[in-house]
């Protein structure tokens, strides 16, 4: 054992490694991404790690390895699980031989996601056990438990941290390398009665699954990470060891708080030494530790549920009260005592706990003195495309080429979603990975006189755009697919993908060519152009419009966040006429106004040269791309 300062996702990775994981597969997605990256970083001999092409592939690769007796982990964000849900739902009926942990990071807020969906529901829906850590230390310890339970019960299990666990850092106790579990997978043993899903097998296994989940309710009631505590009085929590309450305090209050995930940690902060509420910590929201819940509820009048996303614990407790005839009032999201959307901040939890325990009067609401200075207006800072981002140039080229025509610009998931911001305003729709290609076709069907465009990044192209393009070709749609190829998965922190020729195992491999894929599908107009060459890019977009059917333009230029700047632009104050066209047209953060003069911010400009091609009087020079 030794102590290290680790990000939650790194702790999860190291926990999986300590549990002897043999294979890790995943697809990048905030807040899950660093888990797989850290398994690669700390990779012991014999561990295989890959970025799969999408979450469905990752799930299936991990399942296959687990069939062969390996311990496997698959990582993704919550919306990625939607993509992987097809194999997931069937896999439950088949089960696994080696331990398989499905690590899905939820994103309350949402902070970096399309939805606020709750993976605990997916656990319920797919009938899989689910582990929900409350701290970085617990994430490290619990993922090892998750592997053990998975293997013992022959089922994949969910491990569901949220953003504030994944992206928290803590100094935690971790195992030394010689304490790691060693695994020697038995290999795949042929047995079609076990591994081939047929209705009869599904029926038989369904019964077994229901019986197992009944059993797990009891097993989890005894799982030490599910526990009843006597308020916030327990010490020793600093190193993540929270002592459970041994035998219920007879004098305990009539009020209880049930919490899971980071909300549990925040509840303990809010209680800080108070012992007037019994606390139920829920580490396994599914199957729900029913016996423990009954023990918790017995003797209480009222319970407040503190959790993020959906009222999962709350509904379970209402169910337990009904089933066992307990007269306890369960409060939370369903009773509107707590918010039903968004993150739980410490302030919010303190407020909930304070009003639930009715400590009116003592609540220190800070009153501003009357003559307190008024705060100045703080600017809002919406995220923007980086200075010099080639996506800005690609969007701008299409915008210029299609001026005054009826168009729809369907966007997708990635940095380029930021193309929606003014002044570009080049993202009319955005739904989910790969959707833009098909949405554009749908709009075209209803409005055939609209020039339909879909923008998709290179990683998203491989993950989920190819089938949509085949759909367009097969069904004779009219559209232009713009592939914004910056040779990386930029939004999530620059992961490699099939087009980059690098793998997570450090190999250099043949690149999968986007152009060859498109030609293979049957597209005739496929052109690659440098978006930073504005004139040529505009011309390419215009020429594509003269060709019928599905056209593709690959705008190829590397992400500036991982390439060396080409130089710095410079605005000649003698020549600049102050028209501000450069600012109005492209909105690059590298162009600023200082004392009324348009200037280049040296610390941001990458010398992409786009502004220089827009300036009507040629005032912008310097070292720029040519």
């Amino acid at each position: 054992m030794h102590s290290e300062f680790l990000m939650g996702n790194a702790a999860i990775a190291l926990g999986a490694i300590a549990a002897g994981v043999d294979l890790v597969a995943g697809y990048p997605g905030t807040p899950s991404t660093e888990t797989l990256e850290n398994t690669a970083k700390y990779k012991p001999e014999g561990l295989y790690v890959e970025w799969s092409v999408n979450e469905k592939s990752a799930m299936e690769v991990a399942a296959g390895a687990a069939y062969a007796g390996a311990r496997t982990m698959v990582t993704m964000k919550q919306v990625g699980l939607n993509v992987a849900s097809d194999p997931l739902m069937s896999l439950e009926y088949i089960g696994v031989k080696g331990g398989m942990v499905i690590m899905v990071a939820d994103d309350p807020g949402p902070i970096s996601s399309q939805t606020e969906q709750d993976t605990r529901h997916f656990a319920y829906f797919s009938k899989l056990p689910c582990f929900d850590p409350t701290s970085v230390q617990e994430a490290y310890d619990m993922i090892q438990d998750a592997f053990a339970y998975s293997e013992k019960y022959g089922t994949p299990v969910f491990f569901r941290p949220t953003t504030r666990i994944c992206h928290a850092y803590a100094s935690i106790n971790i195992k030394d390398v010689d304490e790691y579990k060693k695994n020697s997978p038995e290999g795949f043993i042929k047995d079609s009665k076990r591994w081939v899903i047929f209705p009869r097998l599904s029926n038989a296994n369904h019964k077994k699954i229901e019986a197992r989940n009944e059993l797990l309710k009891d097993v989890f009631s005894a799982y030490p990470r599910n526990m009843i505590l006597n308020g916030g009085s327990d010490k020793g929590a600093v190193d993540g060891e929270i002592a459970a309450l041994g035998g219920l305090n007879a004098a305990a209050s009539k009020k209880g708080i049930a919490a899971g995930g980071i909300s549990f940690a925040l509840t303990m902060e809010a209680l800080h030494g108070r012992t007037d509420a019994r606390v139920l910590k829920v580490a396994t929201p599914h199957p729900f530790p029913e016996k423990l819940a009954v023990e918790f509820l017995t003797g209480l009048d009222e319970v407040l549920c503190l959790e993020e996303l959906d009222p999962v614990i709350e509904r379970e407790l209402i169910y337990v009260c009904g089933k066992y005839g307990l007269d306890v009032k369960i409060r939370g999201k369903l009773t509107h005592d707590t918010a039903n959307a968004g993150e739980n901040s410490l302030d919010l939890i303190k407020q909930y706990v304070g009003s639930f325990l009715a400590e009116s009067g003592s609540a220190d609401i800070a009153c501003e003195p009357e003559n307190a200075p008024q705060p100045p207006t703080i600017p809002i800072r919406p995220p923007v495309l980086c200075a010099g981002c080639p996506h800005r140039a690609s969007f701008y080229a299409v915008k210029v080429a299609m001026r005054r025509q009826k168009t729809i610009f369907c966007g997708d998931i990635g940095c380029y979603t930021l193309g929606n911001a003014m002044p570009l305003d080049m993202c009319d729709t955005c739904l989910c990975m790969g959707a833009g290609i098909n949405i554009a076709q749908g709009v075209y069907r209803i409005e055939p006189d609209t020039k339909a465009f879909a923008f998709v990044g290179d990683s998203t192209f491989f993950a989920s755009a190819i089938t949509g393009i085949i759909n367009a070709v097969y069904n004779q749609a009219e559209m232009t697919v713009c592939i914004l190829d910056n040779s990386t998965t930029a939004m999530t922190g620059h992961q490699p993908h099939p087009g980059t020729g690098r793998t997570m195992m450090g190999e250099v491999v043949a690149k999968v060519s986007i152009e060859a894929v498109l030609r293979g599908i049957g597209l005739e107009f496929v052109e690659t152009v440098d978006p930073l060459d504005l004139e040529k890019a505009v011309d390419t977009v215009k020429r594509a419009q003269e060709v019928p059917g599905v056209k593709a333009i690959i705008f190829k230029s590397p992400c500036v966040a991982i390439t060396k700047p080409k130089g710095k632009a410079f605005i000649d104050p003698e020549k600049c006429i102050g028209c501000r066209k450069c600012i109005r047209e492209i909105g690059c953060p590298g162009i600023v106004i200082n004392d009324g003069f348009v200037c280049i911010d040296d610390s941001l400009c990458t010398g992409c040269g786009l502004c220089a091609q827009i300036c009507p009087v040629g005032a912008i020079g310097g070292e720029v791309h040519d």
Binding site: S3, F5, M7, T30, P31, I111, S112, T134, S135, V136, R164, H167, A168, Y169, A170, S171, G232, D234, K235, G236, A237, V238, D239, I262, F264, A265, L266, M268, E269, H272, S345, L346, D347, K350, A366, P373, P375, P376, I378, P379, I380, R381, P382, P383, V384, L385, C386, C415, L418, M422, P423, M491, G493, I583, R584, G587, P589, I591, V592, I593
Partner: protein
């Protein structure tokens, strides 16, 4: 005792290294550390913050800091110091960089945004002698590398004494966190007055 620190700035200013150094120094002294960072979409020029909590043994469960609980705010941008000010304890310290980072939206709409009113407000709100205004960008530029802005500001923060850490504590762990070839530069930046 627990020390609560809020670091804030604009995506891309390098707040992460500062929190790593603080954590390493605190751990070296046997303290427990928790922190929470902004990662994701907001890193592209949005406002970012991190919370760091250092405990000498008092129970600590979550990395987040509530209103009125921060012992110190370390701001890489004056407007962000104002944004985070509600988190400051009554007698807490504020170390702020003086250079404003103008959001692109402000440039587009032509609306003004300057450091002046932000700093004035901080001067009125922060307890006497508890506000440090540092021209970190010029200091870093003078050292020939704008990237050391974070270490320049961290130096000022440690010297307030509000963190329970000394200059030596940080200098001792720099070698663990920072690459060899940048060590000298960062040591210089850290001790720059």
């Amino acid at each position: 005792m627990i020390k609560n620190i809020v670091l804030c700035g604009v995506g891309g200013q390098g707040t992460v290294l500062a929190s790593k150094l603080l954590a390493a120094a605190a751990m070296e002294k046997g303290f427990t550390v928790m922190s929470a960072e902004t990662i994701g979409m907001a890193q592209r020029g949005g406002n970012v913050f991190s919370n760091i909590r250092i405990s000498d043994g008092e129970a600590m469960y979550a990395p987040m800091i509530g209103t009125g609980e921060a012992d110190l705010i370390l701001a890489f941008e004056p407007g962000e110091a104002v944004r985070m000010l509600p988190f400051l304890k009554e007698d807490g310290f504020v170390i702020t960089n003086t250079r404003a980072v103008k959001p692109t939206t402000a440039t587009l709409t032509g609306s003004g945004y300057d450091a002046g009113p932000m700093l004035e407000y901080l001067q009125k709100k922060v307890a006497d002698g508890h506000l440090m205004q540092v021209d970190g960008d010029s200091a870093a530029a003078a050292l020939g590398n704008p990237r050391v802005l974070n270490v320049v500001l961290l130096g000022a923060a440690v010297r307030t004494g509000a963190l329970g850490l000394t200059e030596e504590d940080i200098l001792n762990v720099m070698g663990k966190v920072i690459k060899e070839k940048f060590l000298d530069l960062n040591r210089k930046a850290f001790t720059l007055a």
